[in-house]
């Protein structure tokens, strides 16, 4: 099978060039509007006033300084995990493996911090590199399977998530378990010098800069560099790309690995910024929510930023549904899922228009 043939079995829609008719903002508004409309019906059936609900979520997430800061805290994993999806998406690859790459990045960062013996000031840069390498290597498995074996990367990356989680569990339940802890599955606490400094509020760490750098870099590379141009050609029409001499396989491989590295950095940012140690369950579906954010944002930097902020607001505001309205804790999952539905439905329209 030639690469072009392999590529042709890829998702049909070139996409990501984006439809001209439906701008990202319109798509955004439609998806959210539809999701909230259906969510309102669910709330009404429960006897809850949807307006109160939206008001409360708004107040809790955007309406207070604490809420706004917490949305920024969430922007870090959501934004980075969305970038981890968007970069491979630009060459036409679907990376559902952000969750696993996140875990392996966190694992590698934790390993570097706890077991490298490096001096304090070197710990953060070292953890950053380790996180990127870990996530990148994990995505590299998917990329290799894809480029060499023609294995569908959406499936392989998704399945590897479960492997990654078990892999990390093995370490925190076993060899890396905190020897001074209560037999509880987490690693030893990181030294203070390994913790990312807080740059805003109480919990927004330096990792917010990683997000900004990632988004800007993506914008610049895609718009102004040859690599960006060729990547877009590969994503838009791999056959034509190959015929014009672009090394398609190399682009596919690199884009996936770069995506994985970004998710790995998200994992590093989580353990060195928020958790302070490696433990099971460090990701609250960050990889999957990042996936949603990337698709909702049309795999474009600005769209991703908006979508990541939106999901941040939903997850922060979601707490208030429990605290303020006494709704069950899983209610916010309904809203998240509805947005997923809306995004997928919207996507179908898009290919109808754009393909």
């Amino acid at each position: 099978m030639t690469i072009a043939e392999t590529v042709r079995t890829r998702i049909g829609a070139p996409a990501f060039g984006g439809p001209q008719l439906l701008g990202p903002f319109v798509r955004f508004g439609l998806a959210i509007g539809a999701a909230i409309a259906v969510f309102s019906v669910v709330l009404l059936l429960d006897g809850t006033n949807p307006l109160d609900t939206v008001q409360l979520m708004w107040d809790a997430s955007v309406g207070t300084e604490f809420g706004r800061n917490e949305v920024l805290v969430k922007l870090i994993p959501f934004g980075l995990c969305a970038l981890a999806v968007a970069v491979p998406a630009r060459v036409g690859l679907i990376n559902v493996g952000g969750e696993g790459q996140f875990y392996i990045g966190a694992w590698a960062a934790a390993g570097a911090i706890l077991y490298s013996g490096a001096p304090g000031p070197a710990l953060i840069p070292l953890a950053l590199v380790a996180g990127a390498l870990g996530g990148g290597a994990w995505a590299g498995i998917v990329a290799l399977l894809r480029v060499k074996g023609g294995v569908n990367e959406a499936i392989s990356s998704l399945l590897l998530n479960f492997v990654a989680i078990q892999f990390v569990n093995y370490f925190v339940y076993g060899p890396w378990k905190d020897p001074s802890g209560p037999n509880w599955p987490f690693s030893a606490k990181f030294p203070g010098s390994a913790m990312l400094p807080v740059v805003w509020g109480d919990r927004v760490t330096l990792a917010i800069v990683f997000v900004a750098v990632g988004l800007v870099a993506m914008f610049l590379v895609l718009r102004y560099t040859r690599i960006g141009y060729e990547a877009r050609v590969v994503g838009g029409n791999p056959l034509a790309a190959e015929r014009s001499g672009i090394p398609v396989a190399r682009y596919l491989f690199l884009a996936m690995v770069v995506g994985g590295a970004i998710a790995g950095i998200a994992g590093m940012a989580e353990v060195t910024g928020i958790q302070g140690r490696l433990r099971p369950g460090i990701s609250v579906n960050y990889g999957y929510i990042g996936f949603l954010a990337a698709w909702l944002g049309g795999h474009r930097p600005l769209g991703i930023l908006l979508a990541a902020l939106l999901f941040g607001a939903i997850s922060v505001g979601g707490d208030s549904l429990q605290l303020g309205l006494d709704l069950p804790g899983s209610t916010v999952n309904i809203l998240m899922a509805l947005i997923l539905f809306a995004v997928l439905a919207g996507r179908k329209n898009r290919t109808g228009v754009g393909a």
Binding site: I94, A154, L323, G324, G329
Partner: protein
């Protein structure tokens, strides 16, 4: 370029997977809603308790209708809600990670000055948030350390598990008991060991096989563990899970006996139900809240026992013969009076080493809560 069919299938799969994952957390507590057995009757208002309005936050790691740990604690919350001038806010499904910090901070933003983080892994987040809000009092369930404004409380559920062990040791036909356990922390090890010691006190040949599931509530994993125990010839199931309902149902289906935990789940196993160690937090929660309100609360590790009423033995099922019931109740009297100490020496670990010397009295609770071994007769290893 047109869409290619298999791709569409791929999308469906993908969609299903993402969807399923997002919902995984929500589906944790999908057992039957078991109405709580614990009555709120124990609630007493301490005389002179301040009646200044107070907001109290409750955090749960799972759903409050999980037929287990969270449901038992929720009964305590309901008792607190009945106090005058108390506003209660609750959050379910709060992970045992930094997520809990945000939830607690949001509660404090809403005016909470007393917070009950009720899951073991909520302790570190509570201590962290507590440093930032020194005027908020945190009452943590089961924690093994305290800080300036974070105290803990728990109960000696192992006492009831010792009694359940007596019933199990008497009714087992294969002399093999099973215990499906979440995490190997000292409090779960105490339960396992007490269960085996209780069973062995009436049936020296009995063993207890342990399986660790590494989650507080994963009904599928529990059911799988029950099946594997059954295959090994185990005929009595005990559990240290937040949501034992799924396991009890699986055991009932497999024709095994069941010992429950946290709440009375007897209706899930009309044939195989033996009894259970259950919680009645109502009085303790109300007392703690009253102490904080009138300023008499001192941060400490409150540990109560069956004698205090925090731990209760659930009603027996029909699978427990009358003479066994009498034996269990007689032993309960001895525990209540202090005549019988469950962890009095000699207590030997799996390797035969005497961990508590012969003739030694039962160590104090603080020391018991450092337990890191399984006793002789328990089969299975603490994951290292």
């Amino acid at each position: 370029m047109r869409r290619i069919l298999p791709k569409r299938g791929g999308w469906l799969l993908l969609f299903a997977a993402v969807f399923a994952t997002l919902f995984a957390a929500a589906c944790g507590g999908d057992d039957d809603d078991t109405p709580a057995s614990t009555a709120a009757g124990g609630a007493t208002t301490a005389s002179g308790a301040a009646t200044k309005p107070v907001t109290i936050g409750f955090l749960y790691v799972g759903a409050v209708d999980d037929g287990g740990y969270n449901q038992a604690a929720y009964q305590g919350q309901l008792a607190v809600e009945k106090l005058p001038n108390v506003k209660v806010i609750k959050a379910e499904n709060v992970p045992e990670s930094a997520e809990a910090e945000r939830v607690m901070e949001q509660m404090i933003q809403q005016g909470a000055t007393i917070i009950f983080p009720t899951s073991f892994g909520h302790l570190d987040p509570a201590i962290k948030v507590g440093e930032k809000y020194p005027n908020v009092t945190f009452l943590h369930q089961g924690g093994l350390k305290t800080s300036k404004n974070v105290g803990t409380y728990f109960g000696a559920s192992w006492e009831a598990n010792y009694l359940a062990g007596i019933a199990a040791g008497k009714v087992t036909k294969t002399n093999k008991l099973g215990y499906v356990v979440a995490f190997p922390i000292s409090q779960t090890l105490l339960n396992i060991n007490a269960f085996e010691l209780g069973a062995k006190s009436v049936n020296p040949a009995v063993t207890t096989t342990v399986i660790f599931t590494a989650t507080w509530c994963d009904p599928a994993k529990i059911a799988e563990s029950v099946k594997s125990l059954k295959d090994q010839g185990v005929d009595v199931l005990n559990q240290h899970q937040d949501c034992p309902g799924a396991g009890i149902q699986a055991a009932e289906k497999a024709g095994m006996f069941s010992v429950g935990y946290h709440v009375d789940d007897s209706k899930l196993a009309p044939n195989g139900w033996l009894t259970a160690a259950t919680w009645d937090w109502t009085k303790l929660f109300v007392d703690l809240v009253n102490q904080v309100r009138d300023g008499t609360y001192k941060v400490s590790q409150v540990r109560q026992s069956m004698a205090d009423g925090v731990v209760k033995l659930a009603p027996f099922g029909k699978a427990v013969p009358k003479d066994v019931q009498d034996l269990v109740l007689a032993t309960q009297k001895k525990i209540l009076s202090g005549e019988l100490e469950i962890f009095a020496g000699p207590v030997k670990d799996q390797g035969g080493t005497e961990k508590i010397k012969a003739g030694a009295k039962q160590p104090p609770v603080t020391e018991l809560e450092t337990m890191n071994y399984l006793v002789e007769g328990v089969i299975g290893k603490i994951p290292q």
